[in-house]
């Protein structure tokens, strides 16, 4: 049954972790796979520079859902800079491999997380600029 996918991939597909959206997120990022129309959105909350919460929504195939699910698990607890270095190969390793033609699904999940981390960084710096302006500094 579903030999194509590893047991870990199937587990993340049937019982995905961290589905949904973080309330009042510090960062939100999306990525899509233009060749098939799949897309993933990840929202994150940071505390003291670490990913405290990460949630995802994915419209896509088994691999796309499993990759986003495992990525949220890997990201939570890491610093923002560490989380930004998680690459598709890390997800594929943790999932016990993906079919070659599904490797782009891991790339999409990573793209969404990195976009969320950048969004958080941009919001933080614009907030500090606003704060600096407010104090006349």
């Amino acid at each position: 049954m579903s030999q194509e996918y590893s047991a870990a991939t199937i587990a993340h597909f049937t019982e995905p972790r961290n589905v949904g959206a973080v309330e009042d997120p510090d960062g939100k990022g999306s990525d899509a796979n233009p060749s098939c129309g799949d897309r993933t959105t990840i929202t994150i909350r940071l505390r003291d520079g670490r990913v405290e919460a990460a949630r995802f929504r994915t419209f896509g195939c088994t691999a796309a859902i499993a990759a986003a699910s495992v990525l949220t698990e890997l990201a939570i607890g890491r610093t923002a800079d560490e989380a930004a270095t998680i690459d598709p190969g890390d997800l594929i390793r943790v999932l016990g491999g993906l079919p070659t033609r599904k490797e782009a699904c891991a790339l999409m999940a990573v793209g969404a997380l990195r976009a969320a981390l950048i969004d958080a960084k941009v919001k933080e710096s614009s907030a500090s600029i606003q704060a600096a302006k407010a104090t006349g500094g």
Binding site: C36, G37, F59, G60
Partner: protein
């Protein structure tokens, strides 16, 4: 876990009687049908009998049947062979539709790109129906061939090929129909349907994979695609697949015997399935016309879900189904057939095709109706697309 196979449009299991007939040929008939001594004559007799069985089921004469390696080759022979034969008379225009099988559509595009054939692709309505008048309008002076499939492999829609054939005949244009999904399931009589070329595929009606036939109406001009020893009256050369051909003939005869009762039974299962899905998942979209469809086909789109995920989730619960065409299941691009109906690509991505067969029971349908709604709900809860 008991598996419930609901993908009979992809392929059907080989009927035990067919398998037995084929095994007997493999064990006991070693000859080449082209040899004139006893072993060859024995093999020839089996091929001839199978040809009679296929011809009889179609209302054709045996000389009008050309055995091929399956539906794809039959379609290729019909398109390439006809246009090649008509090249000398400057008939270089081909008319087909937007929802043909890839075996026709990709062949048509290949002819357009590489053989100086001009191509007109006729659109379909939201149910997938081809308007015969649109075919009539597409035919021009240099049209050599019109190709319109009888029953669509993805959405099950049946085309009015009698009316399209009548128009082609009136205009003097050769008419081909890919009837791979319908022969075996519905009556198909070439004495009644004005069609010149018909593609048939054994494994869609409980025969083996790798064998099919092209019906070529007497007098239809068709050139061969391959050259060699001249078998099949030179129209499809190569030593005959004797066991496969016997399997095709046997499967065709059995299908014709069982067809009326079995297709009515399958249509009842199909209607139970369609009604059940519509009740349990109210925003499911039924693809194709509600009644003008193959007796075994129920095709849906579930907005907010993706077809591959639906197929894998059902697989994990013991159901075999497909999304779009099995030939492209490794490719998650939305099906050209669903897009031709005017569906949004994101909606077309959530397609699921369920096709019942001889061994499908009411209990199987009810089990599917129990398993499917929670899967759709779960995938939607994960989905990034608002429903």
């Amino acid at each position: 876990m008991k598996r419930v196979y609901l993908d009979h449009a992809a392929t059907t299991p080989v009927d035990p009687e067919v398998a037995e007939a084929m095994a007997r040929v493999l064990r006991e008939v070693p000859g080449n049908p082209s040899s004139i001594y006893a072993e060859g004559r024995a093999a020839r007799a089996l091929v001839d009998r199978a040809r009679d069985e296929v011809a009889s089921a179609l209302g054709a004469t045996p000389a009008e049947i050309v055995f091929t390696s399956g539906g794809t080759e039959a379609d290729n022979l019909a398109l390439r062979g006809t246009l090649k034969a008509l090249r000398a008379s400057s008939k270089d225009h081909l008319v087909t539709t937007a929802i043909e099988h890839h075996a026709v559509l990709d062949t048509a595009h290949d002819l357009e790109g590489n053989a100086h054939v001009r191509l007109t692709i006729v659109a379909v309505d939201r149910d997938g129906r081809v308007d015969p008048a649109a075919i009539g309008q597409a035919i021009e002076e240099r049209t050599g061939l019109v190709s319109v499939m009888h029953g669509n492999n993805e959405i099950g829609i049946l085309q009015p090929i009698e009316r399209i054939g009548a128009i082609c005949r009136e205009r003097g244009v050769t008419f081909h129909s890919d009837a791979v999904q319908t022969v075996g399931a519905l009556p198909f009589d070439v004495r009644r349907i004005p069609v010149d070329l018909v593609s048939v595929n054994a494994h869609k009606f409980y025969g083996p994979k790798g064998v099919g036939a092209l019906y070529v109406r007497k007098g239809t001009r068709i050139a061969t695609m391959q050259t060699g020893g001249g078998q099949e009256k030179g129209r499809r050369t190569g030593t005959e697949n004797v066991a496969g051909i016997v399997g095709l003939g046997t499967a065709m005869r059995l299908a014709a015997e069982r067809r009326d009762a079995e297709s009515a039974r399958q249509a009842r299962l199909r209607d139970r399935l369609i009604a059940g899905v519509r009740t349990r998942v109210p925003d499911a979209i039924l693809n194709g016309h509600p009644t003008e469809r193959l007796p075994n086909n129920a095709s849906f789109c579930f907005p907010g879900t993706q077809g591959e995920a639906l197929v894998i989730a059902l697989d994990l619960e013991g159901f075999s189904a497909s999304s779009g065409s099995a030939c492209t299941s490794g490719n998650t691009e939305p099906s050209h057939v669903l897009l031709a109906l005017g569906l949004e690509p994101s909606v077309a991505q959530g397609s699921l095709r369920l096709t019942v067969g001889r061994e499908t029971t009411e209990a199987d349908i009810d089990a599917l109706l129990h398993a499917l709604p929670p899967i759709v709900e779960r995938l939607r809860s994960i989905s990034a697309v608002p429903v």
